[in-house]
Structure formats: structure tokens, C-alpha cells
Amino acid sequence: MDEQKQLDAFQKRIDNGETIEPKDRMPDRYRKQLIRMMSQHAHSEIVGMLPEGNWIQRAPSLKRKKVLLAKVQDEAGHGLYIYSAVETLGVTRREVVEDYMYGNAKYSSIFNYPTLTYADICVIGWLVDGAAIVNQTMLARSSYGPYARSMVRICKEESFHKKQGYEMLAKMASGTPEQKKMAQDAVNRWWWPTLMMFGPPDDQSPNSQELIRWGVKSKTNDELRQSFVDMTVMEAKAIGIEIPDPDLKYNHETGHWDFGEVPWDEFWEVIKGNGPMNRERIRARRKAYEEGAWVREAASEYARKKRLEEEKAS
């Protein structure tokens, strides 16, 4: 078969709604796009541990400390799980990890913002995990089997994170004047960066059309963003939180909430590395990786010695 025929056959499988498995034939470009997208997702789970981990030691009750610790632990699990899924595409975890720490690979721009008060933890749960759910619910129907399956499992936990964040934010929003202030301030700071999580507007998103054609995604960035806004507006109202967008208005014709212009200049800057926390996040991850090198070396050296002993014994 020539290349075009192979591509057509692959496209036909996708269009029939078939799931692609690791051993199946797949176009190089499909494989590359998935590696890029999935490892970016995994890196985000891991880098996301930093802003949230920032509040574990200061959580205001033992219960909140446990909830946060468990959440961050879940995120580590998500990272691990998605990295394993990436490895089915013929790359190693080490390669892709080094690619974001020392190379050009990306992680979600949202984690380049600082967590300033405990309310930020609640807002991350509500908005950031909330946005992740919108995205990941779609990805659970992705054409690549291992990715889709990992999303099904992860989404359940993300829903739990969102619920916990939202409930705690509700508590703060109806609490003391200081708690109310922290809650609203956090929403004001995280709102626009959260909308950026869905990626650039459709007319500026180079990968979108291809990913949709291949069934990796089924909705565009703008469609996902819109459904997130529609869902979130009512949740905010219910707990007396204001969304910091004067243009937010219900559109009776479309049945959607119209919203103002996302500050895209900021988005492109953050993507390029010019966000408030880009350098610090990467520095923290490199530090952990480099300072952990002797531990990983020890573990593999010990395993080698044990193998040798076993071989000798048998």
C-alpha cells in the first residue's frame, strides 16, 4: 500500500469510531501529535502539584490538610498514569520529562500563576479542575485507546477535586469578611487564566483541526471554553461569587453566556515563558530531578547487584 492509501485506511477507521490501540498501524504524525498532547497533559499534572503543594503546610485545619495532600497525591497519580499511556507510543518517561525541563515541551499555562491565599486552593479545585473535567470528558472519547481509558479514570477523581474546592469556596464566600475577600480576590485572579486553559481561539489554533479529524478531540477550543463558562456562571451565582467580566451576559438567541475578550496577549507571553512563575516552576522541577539523581542511580545500581546475585545463585 502506498502512503496515501494507508492514510485513507486509517482515516476510515477513525471515522467509523474505532479505537486505535498501541500495536495498531498509525500515521507518524498521529503518533507525534499524541505524544505531544499526552505528555503535555502529564507534565501539567506534575507541575500543578507545585502551586497547590504550596499550601499543604499552612492548611487551616487537619481536615483541609488531608484533603489537599490527598488531592495533590491524586495529581501525581494522574501524571504517572498518563506517562504510562504515553510510553505505549514508543517513548520513555525520562525522554518526555527531560523535554519539558530542559527542552521546549509545554505544560498548562495555568500553573505559571502563584497561589497567594488559601482561597486560591479552593478556586483551583473549582475552576481549574472544573476546566480540566470539561476537557477530559471529551478526551475520554478520544480515538487513542490508552489515552481515552486513562481519562475515564482520572475524570472521576477530578470531579471529586472540583466538588471539594467548590464547597470550601462556598464556605469562605459566606464566612468572615476576610474569608469573603480572599475568596473573591482569588476568583478575580484565576478567572481569565482558567479560560486560557482551553487553548488559543479556534482561528489561531494550529493543531485543532488535525486533532479533530483524527478523533483525538471532538470539540474546538472555543466550544469547550463556552461550555465551561455556561456551567460556571450559575455555580458562581449560587455561592455569591462575582465573575470579573463586565461583558458577561446571557444571550437568549444562542442560549449561551456571552463573555468578554480573553487577554490573549498575556496568554501568548505566558506560553513563551514570560509568566509570573514560569522560571520558578521549571527551576523547582529541575532541582527535584537533579537532586534526586543519586537516589535513582542508587536504586538501579542496587537492582543490578541483586540481579547479579540471583544469576550467580541459580
Binding site: 507545585l50 499552612r58 485545619s61 497525591q73 527535584a288
Partner: protein, 262 residues
């Protein structure tokens, strides 16, 4: 119990004090372990250390809750964790030391897990149903902490030259804090009399034997006992590290005492 507090005399007062000591150990160690979250040498260890931290804080919470119930003054786990100062905390000094490198964290976890394992094996026989049930339940998790840290002691000790040196240094640095685990004071003696405490002097030999076996299997040297041994944690005497940790841990809760968070 700072130097000014009244010594416990009744059974319930002794039980309260005993539970708070156990809880403080676990809260302080859990707080330290949680500092690794996002900074571990590999993802699997971020998960494992967070998991152990979570268990520690969970155990502490259960112990505080029961202590507060015994006390009967309307306090809860958070009152005990967030509204006491360093001189009121009764944890072992070893547990408040900064996390150090991964070897230090593992060596401490191992020394403490062996201790906890032996202690809880006694406490699950306590003549107090709620206490013994709690000890029995937590023992299952302690067994996992012990296995995890033991395996790492072996790997690091018998791994590379660097890992060998690092974990040996860690044991050498930590050893001065191990004597305190077995100091028997009036509270411990009364707890034994009331049937819910462990005789720490008896645990010592078993602990030394278990710990030495693993250290030696890891091709490391057991540090000498005839050296300066720290003491006093059980009466609220601490190193300078605890105050900083509590300042961080308690600041938000204390800044807004009227706010609700749970």
C-alpha cells in the same frame, strides 16, 4: 506540659497526656513529610511520601480527637493541633528536624517506623477498647511505612558509593535523637500501671536488634550509643526548628480564629 503545667494524676489525665504525645509525634512527622510533595526524587516517591504523610496526619487527628473526648472540655483535634505553642508540644525532637536529603528522610522514617511498629504492637493490647482498636487499625499502615523505608535503606546503603555515604551520614546525624524514644517518665509509668501504656525500656532491645539487622544488611555501620543523646521533647523541650514549623502550620488558623474552615 510546659515546666509550669500540672502533672497528670488521674487515669483520664494520664491517658489524655499519653494520646497527645503520640499524636504530636505523628502530626510533626507528617507535616515534615508533606514538604516532599512535588519535590521527590521520582514520581513514585512523591506518591509514597505523600501517602505516608497522609497516614501520619490521619493517625494524629484520630488520637487528638480521642484525647479531646477524654478531656471533656469541648476542644477538638484542631484546637490541639493549632492552638498550642512549642513548649506545649510533646513530640520527639527527631521528628521536628528538617527533611534533609532523601536519605535523611528515609533513615528517620525507618528508625521511627520500627519504633512505632513495636510500640503499637503493645498498644493494641491496651486496656481501653477505643485506644487499642485505634492502635490495631493504624498498625496495618505502620507496617507499610516500615516496609517502604526498610527497602530504601537497603537500596541506598548497598547502592552506589554516594548513596552509601549519604545514608550513613543520615544515621550518624540522627542517632543522638534515638535515645529519647525510650525515656520512661512518670506519665509512661502511670500509663503502664493503668494498663494502656508500653514499657519503653523493654522495647529498646527489640528496636536495637531490628534496626541493627537492617543497617548491617545495608552494609552500613550502626552508630555508637555512647554519645550525646538529646532528650526533653516529652516535656516540651525542643530544638529551634519546631517553632518555625508551628509558625507556618498555625498562622492561617490563628490569624482568623472566628473563621470556619471545615
Amino acid at each position: 506540659m510546659s515546666t509550669l503545667d500540672q502533672k497528670p494524676t488521674t487515669r483520664d489525665e494520664v491517658l489524655f497526656e499519653y494520646l497527645v504525645r503520640l499524636a504530636d509525634d505523628r502530626l510533626i512527622l507528617g507535616q515534615r513529610l508533606s514538604e516532599w510533595c512535588g519535590h521527590g526524587p521520582e514520581l513514585e516517591e512523591d506518591l509514597a511520601l505523600a501517602n505516608i504523610a497522609l497516614d501520619m496526619i490521619g493517625h494524629a487527628g484520630a488520637l487528638y480527637t480521642y484525647a479531646a473526648e477524654i478531656e471533656g472540655q469541648g476542644r477538638d483535634e484542631d484546637d490541639l493541633a493549632y492552638f498550642r505553642d512549642d513548649i506545649d508540644f510533646k513530640n520527639l525532637q527527631m521528628l521536628e528536624q528538617p527533611i534533609g536529603d532523601f536519605g535523611y528522610t528515609i533513615a528517620r522514617q525507618f528508625l521511627f517506623s520500627v519504633y512505632s511498629y513495636l510500640l503499637y504492637s503493645e498498644l493494641k493490647k491496651a486496656e481501653d477498647e477505643q485506644f487499642s482498636g485505634m492502635a490495631d487499625k493504624h498498625l496495618k499502615e505502620i507496617r507499610y511505612h516500615l516496609r517502604h523505608s526498610r527497602e530504601w535503606v537497603l537500596r541506598l546503603g548497598d547502592g552506589t558509593e554516594e548513596s552509601h555515604r549519604r545514608i550513613q551520614d543520615a544515621f550518624d546525624d540522627l542517632w543522638m535523637y534515638t535515645g529519647e524514644m525510650f525515656d520512661m517518665d512518670e506519665v509512661d509509668r502511670m500509663a503502664v500501671e493503668h494498663g494502656f501504656g508500653a514499657d519503653l525500656k523493654q522495647l529498646r532491645e527489640e528496636w536495637k536488634k531490628n534496626v541493627s539487622e537492617v543497617i548491617e544488611e545495608a552494609t552500613l555501620k550502626v552508630p555508637r550509643d555512647d554519645q550525646y543523646m538529646a532528650s526533653g521533647g516529652r516535656t516540651g523541650f525542643h530544638t529551634e526548628h519546631l517553632g518555625h514549623m508551628l509558625a507556618q502550620m498555625q498562622f492561617l488558623r490563628r490569624s482568623y480564629p472566628d473563621a470556619e474552615w471545615t
